[in-house]
Amino acid sequence: MSSILIVEQILNGLQFGVMLFLMAAGLTLIFGVMGLINLAHGSLYMVGAFAAAAVAGATGSFFLGLVAALASAALAGAIIEIVVIRRLYDAPHLDQVLATFALILIFSEGTRWFFGSFPLFLNIPQALSGPVTLPGGIEYPLYRLSLIVIGVAIAGGLWLFIERTRIGIQIRAGENDREMIAVLGVDISKLYTLVFALGAALAGLAGALVGAIQSVQVGMGEPVLILAFVVIVIGGIGSIRGAFIGALLVGLTDTLGGVFLPEFLGLFMEPGAAQKSGSAIASMGIYILMGLVLIWRPTGLFGARA
């Protein structure tokens, strides 16, 4: 086990983590501000990826694809907020889960109807393809490195937006006391639509960025959604900072656990069996992490309320 491999795996974990953050940020804002469990967040991720693939395929420009992903996911988010979600704010969580689950099915089958069942092609831009050599002789794909930079930049931007702008203050106030800021003259329904569209745009961006190295296909959002829920539970619901730390923790645990646990078990087990049981235990890793964090802090790392 060389140190180069360890550093490379840490980079992989970070890259996975920041992409999870883009998903989790929207989810945690929506839950924190509106108290809404949005299972359809994964569908917005898929919408972003499909929009990017379609536009990049038609124009040949990955950048235009990203713009399309942001725009279409934000638009889809705003539309479902106005048409469906708005009726659910006062409904019990079970109704919200039911309605947003229905949205997943509608989006999945709608996408299949429109684009077909076969995966779409979306490749990384030429300028970012291939590996670069980092100090210490580590070869690492340039695109993944760019994902880390983009993710960290967005996290910083989002933090500034929430902490330093007027709208950010309103969002934070909305988390604390919905009725009060409505009484103070803030147009709460406009604010909700905005937060929802912002969260959707981030999910769509993540879908497009990740879609370029994975496959753009129907149902691609749901596995990520589950991880994003784990992230916001670990980070504390409603906290952007918590989502960031939680996403990195989950990304690193998942990546490093998957690599090093089988190696570790291989020290005293037959290699094939060590591989199988190691990867099985590693896939539980993030849930064990979640359990431990909740025992230690029942509201999550940065959560204000349970």
Binding site: Q9, E139, A212, V218, G258
Partner: protein, 376 residues
Amino acid sequence: MKKLLLAASAASLLATSAFAEVKVGMITTLSGGGAGLGLDVRDGFLLAIEQSGRDDIEVVIEDDQRKPDIAVQLSDKMIQSERVDVMTGIIWSNLAMAVVPAAVNQNVFYLSPNAGPSALAGKGCHQNYFNVAWQNDNLHEAAGAYANDAGHKKSFILAPNYPAGTDALTGYKRFFDGDLAGEIYTQLGQTDYAAELAQIRASDADSVFFFLPGGMGISFLKQYADSGIDLPVVGPAFSFDQGILQAVGDAALGVVNTSQWNKDIDNPTNKAFVDSFKAEYGRLPSLYASQGFDTANLLLSALEKADPSDANAFREALRAAEFDSTRGDFAFGPNHHPVQTIYAREVIKEGDVFTNKIIGTALEAHSDAYAAECKM
């Protein structure tokens, strides 16, 4: 009133005997990540039924969503309330393991158009279970044999952690004479392979063998091409079928993969199949479509000779496998799995379309390693 009822029931009796329909239950994956495979099997199957011109065959199609629990529910429904005679369609081995043993024990015939888990080829074989595609290990064994021919000495191998994944690596190792540089089981449905690629890079492998069907293979190949690793890749056809090659793009060009079928196999049945599939559905068929097509033709050939209600005669008719396969000659081994030639194919680009070309034979008249364990 009583008379009327009697007449009605007599009429309905008459009706059922007049329309002695054969009912086929197809459970396959039509939504979610693996939908492309199920669609191809379904379309190939229905194409053959349609071409036969028989209107006494009813095909009930249900979507298992790639979930074993749903597949079991659907199969119970098909056997108990739909009363199907023959079942088919399952793509994934873990679903097949959940459905097939129970189905064949209830005297339903099962014709597998894809999944061929080792458990059903060896000790768990059954007289009513026929596999028209391959035993899971087959294409991987062929990949191992091809790797020897290509002079590879040290392979890094990976597959998802589920029955077919275990069969894949076992199959490759059975025929590959070289050493292993590493062996990894990934998660089923995994889409990011950065960690595995780093391990491949850090190893001293001279070749990579992978079995990652559907979307998993697309992700792996794209990331592999971008990682800067330039070791030769060998794999079974599942990551290079017609449905997903277009999504992989240039990253797949030149990769050698093993398959029992390709669109350029030269026989009249195959030519007619490729042309009619293209005409009917507007896309090139994949190996899954060919398997669906062959499965339906096997069924039709058996129905010519016997009715499923006469189980023994129908079983003999299936075993004889007297139909024109898209693969050329087709025969079942003693455990009802095919004995067939497996080819090595290379990914090429024809105009704008990525597809495969046969470059040689990997294994001839190949059976499977479990046939001897099968006692039926």
